[in-house]
């Protein structure tokens, strides 16, 4: 029964029926009687004082219900939005934490900073009224250029963060690393920029809130990846609404990629105002607002040095990074360039000594926070760029240099010099498989053939590691994280044998409704159609931590396994009673309790029925009902790893880069649904390709205006930008979670930028190009080629 639907089966996604037939239900679809609509007036300046706000004309506009400004929120004691992760600097001091008002009070700090919220009978009336608000701005110079953020004379973003420095943080012992460099036979150095990205979920952020005066209950519908955490933040820190009086619902959500983890200004303001207006309030971001205000990703400037001995063994790695936080610290912003970045700098290698120095800067730009991979793509880009550069410097094959430095399979569990202990892995077979699939041996012939057509062909490797399945709560606590990172699950059977799987994770494209059902189907033998996965509503689900950091299966799935074990344990007692056997003799196989060595059996559904209709039931020993709850706190992170090989062809006349081959071999541990994993890998690679070749969030360096603020100037990857991917798998099951799984949601995006850029660098190397910044747009490639040609001519 379960073979076709259980673990390992390519089950078509249950949720796609509604997504593909237009019957999904998103926040904006909510029919709320007597609804009003919010529109946020935003700063057109990157940095300005607010001398005054004149609402008189706006208040007289048709349809206006109320207008709120930062003063109104301050007067009603609405708190600052919070950063939930306290990072301690190299002197043990907590990071600087400037206030983050829900609506700007006396200063605006980025283009898009909300200044006023207009609530009206329709969206258009709210927008028209907002146009009549007169804000008297005192425009000030802005700090935009990350590399100059700490320079003397750079405009200051917050008085609370002198010199624009949020923290100066380090990991590793600098003196030890310096000593290793002194003995090195060779040192490779690189300077790289990890370009700033704009998330672009298909569904823009949205919020709707309703206040029930009779009960004092607030309901907030939000496009959130973690509704319980959003409720906790709003209750405990920002709005002060008690948790039991606030219900947060994240219904169908159309993509997040990290950008919907955070607690933003708009849902906070809408929720707060709903009780003042006395009618429901709805808000949906326009695409232009998404560009301006969704937390952006990446944005690092890094100098790195790798020390090698004469045989190419890595001796030490030194990394110096400036990370952009934007104008305010978003919910998890401080952790991304530290604990999710520097701790990954060992990669797949035995590098014995690593020192990382990370300085976080505030700038007059939109807040920056976790985006698919969050810190790990940045780490992978540093390591895999410098390793490929070292191979070029030493005239070694990039695969050989990697293989020479891989952590051997016998060394697991492996303690890295940057805090993490890798639980399992076997890297050499992965790169071997990838090289076989990519026909690495045939590459030089393909390069020569391309040259005959006037094309520059290059090949690039990226052997990534990630730490995901966030996370062991006690480790997170020691590192300054403000929450636990376990997950909850509840298996709630109905008397007729069907079951609700209630999870604290949240699906916004990942396919949990299918994968989680497969786990339960496999474990308990319940047919897939009798399983329903429930998530996203704080009133109907147990407290949970949500979905990010490739954690849902490794942590949320493990919680489901624990709950299923409890169901089996209880079912065994019921079955033993029904079969008049000893519990010790009862086994559970393929959905049925059996007495070993006899033909006696009780299907699970029968035990469930007996539990709800306990006429023949050991009531003195066990409670009726079949409804089990479990919480799972992981023992360690999980460590997916893999190798991607990208092959590109560049047209030197136009600068256009075409990806002609792309291979990815991954170790995700055990795989529940190969089709969904392929989808995740494909999507991740495309996002990584987008970063490498197309996407770039650009602010005017003087005025702080967002120049790439629409799809005319911000290029998303499309189907014709990527080839058909060649995928492979190697499996080393995770030893510490019951499913043996490792997580696959971010891997593609983590590894791909380095694979693509290494291929681009390899293609351009024969014509004398040594460095090129990301993204390798046609303009950038063309200018780089011609710059190199000019340099050679001089």
């Amino acid at each position: 029964m379960t073979a076709a639907t259980g673990i390992g089966a390519r089950v078509k996604r249950k949720e796609d029926v509604r997504f593909l037939t237009g019957t999904g239900r998103y926040v904006d679809d909510l029919p709320l009687a007597r609804a009003t609509y919010a529109y946020f007036l935003r700063s057109p300046h990157a940095h300005a004082g607010i001398k005054g706000i004149d609402l008189s004309a706006a208040e007289k506009m048709p349809g206006v219900v109320a207008i709120f400004t930062g003063k109104d929120l301050a007067e009603s004691k609405v708190g600052s939005l919070i950063c939930g992760w306290v990072v301690k600097d190299k002197h043990g001091q907590p990071h600087k934490a400037p206030p983050h008002p829900v609506l700007a009070v006396d200063t605006v700090r980025y283009v898009g900073d909300p200044v006023a919220m207009v609530v009206a009978n329709s969206h258009d009336e709210a927008k028209d009224a907002a146009e009549q608000i007169k804000v008297d701005y005192d425009v000030r110079p802005a700090s935009v250029d990350l590399a100059k953020a700490f320079d003397k004379g750079t405009p200051q973003v917050h008085a609370e963060a002198p010199g624009n420095l949020i923290y100066d943080w380090e990991l590793g012992v600098k003196a030890d690393v310096d000593a290793a460099f002194a003995k090195a036979a060779h040192v490779t150095k690189i300077d790289i920029v990890n370009n700033r990205l704009i998330p672009n979920a298909m569904e823009p952020r949205a919020a709707a809130a309703e206040y029930d005066k009779g009960t004092g209950h607030y309901t907030l519908w939000s496009t959130s990846q973690n509704p319980h955490v959003l409720r906790l933040i709003l209750s405990a820190f920002v709005l002060g609404i008690p948790e039991h009086k606030l219900r947060v619902i994240a219904p169908d959500v159309g993509g997040g990629f990290g950008s919907k983890i955070f607690c933003y200004n708009e849902e906070t303001a809408v929720c707060w105002a709903s009780s003042r207006v006395g009618r429901p309030i709805k808000w949906t971001a326009e695409r232009a607002e998404s560009f301006m205000t969704d937390a952006h990703g990446r944005d690092h400037v890094t100098h790195a040095e790798l020390a090698l001995d004469k045989d190419g063994k890595f001796l030490a790695l030194k990394v110096d990074t400036i990370a952009n936080m934007g104008a305010y610290l978003s919910t998890f912003s401080t952790a991304v360039p530290t604990y999710l970045y520097a701790t990954l700098l060992a990669g797949q290698y035995t590098t014995p000594l690593i020192y990382a120095n990370v300085r976080a800067a505030v700038t007059h730009t939109a807040p920056v926070d976790a985006y698919r991979g969050a810190g790990r793509p940045e780490a992978t880009f540093v390591i895999e760029s410098i390793v490929s550069q070292a191979a070029k410097d030493l005239n070694m094959d990039p695969a050989e240099l990697r293989r020479k430095n891989f952590i051997p399979s016998t060394a697991f569990p492996y303690q890295t010099p940057v805090a993490l202990q890798y639980d399992s892995g076997n890297y050499p077979p992965i790169i071997d498989e990838a090289m076989k699939i990519a026909d690495y041996k045939g590459f030089e012939a393909r390069r020569a053939e391309a040259k005959s057509r006037g094309k520059l062909r290059g090949i690039g490797f990226s052997s990534y590691i990630e730490a995901c399945g966030l996370a062991p709560s006690q480790v997170i606590g020691q590192l300054g994280g403000g929450v636990g990172q376990w997950e909850s699950a509840q298996l709630k059977f109905n008397p007729t044998g069907n079951v609700q799987v209630i999870t604290g994770s949240h699906s916004h494209g990942q396919g949990h409704e299918t994968t989680f059902a497969q786990i339960v189907s496999d474990k308990l033998g319940v047919p897939l159609e009798n399983i329903e996965v429930v998530h996203g509503d704080t009133s109907t689900t147990t407290f949970g931590m949500g979905t990010y950091g490739s954690r849902s299966l490794a942590v949320g799935g493990s919680a489901i396994m624990k709950a299923a074990d409890k169901i089996i344990a209880k079912g065994r007692k019921i079955a033993a009673h029904l079969m008049e056997a000893s519990v010790d003799d009862v086994v559970f196989e393929n959905g049925t309790f059996k007495v070993a060595g006899t033909d006696k059996n009780v299907p699970l559904a029968q035990a469930v029925f007996a539990a709800y209709v306990p006429h023949n039931y050991p009531l003195a020993e066990i409670e009726p009902g079949m409804d089990e709850n479990a919480f799972y706190d992981p023992a360690n992170f999980v460590y997916p790893a893999g190798t991607q090989i990208c092959e590109v062809e560049i047209d030197p006349d136009t600068g256009e880069t075409q990806i002609v081959n792309f291979t990815a071999v991954d170790d995700f541990g055990n795989i529940i649904n190969p089709m969904i994993v392929e989808g995740q890998v494909h999507g991740g690679i495309v996002q990584g390709v987008g970063q490498a070749l197309l996407e770039n969030a650009v602010y005017d360096k003087e005025t702080g205006q967002l120049l790439s603020g629409s799809y005319m100037d911000y290029t998303m990857p499309r189907a014709d930008d990527v080839p058909s991917f060649k995928l492979g798998y190697k499996v080393t099951p995770c030893p510490h979670n019951p499913l043996g799984v490792k997580g696959c949601g971010e891997a593609g995006a983590i590894a791909a930028p380095a694979a693509v850029m290494n291929a681009v660098r390899d293609a351009l190397a024969p014509i004398g190009v040594t460095q090129i910044t990301m993204p390798a747009t046609p303009l950038n490639v063309w200018q780089t080629i011609h710059g190199a040609a000019r340099a050679a001519a001089e």
Partner: protein, 154 residues
Amino acid sequence: MEIKGEYRIAAPREKVFAALNDQAVLQACIPGCESLEKLSDTEMTAKVRLRIGPVSATFNGKVTLSDIDPPNGYRITGEGQGGVAGFAKGGAVVRLADDSGTTVLTYDVDAQVGGKIAQVGARLISGTAKKLADQFFGKFAENVGAAAPVASAG
């Protein structure tokens, strides 16, 4: 971004300078100008409808004349709020030179936009400002005397 241009106007310099200070002439020549009210000899309020790329908005703002040096030229600056569309500001240094009874007008424009206009139209602002400047000075030259552009360079 800066834009320069030059026009030859078949009128004496004094007449051209007077026209540059004539509110009615300015109103007729500023592209999209819906109203222009004089506050003083050097200050006016204006309402101008502009289209930059896909964004079209009405800007309410102030026009200021400064560095007035009759009949050699002045600086004209404007700053307008376009509501949710953002803001636009810019100015032009206008110089007048006498050339055997006709006047050679040269201008040097700089412009800046912010908010939504910058978000979707920054790429287009250079071309738009050039077009607007040409429209203004072209119409101005036409109004003041028979004229033809000598040369213009972006």
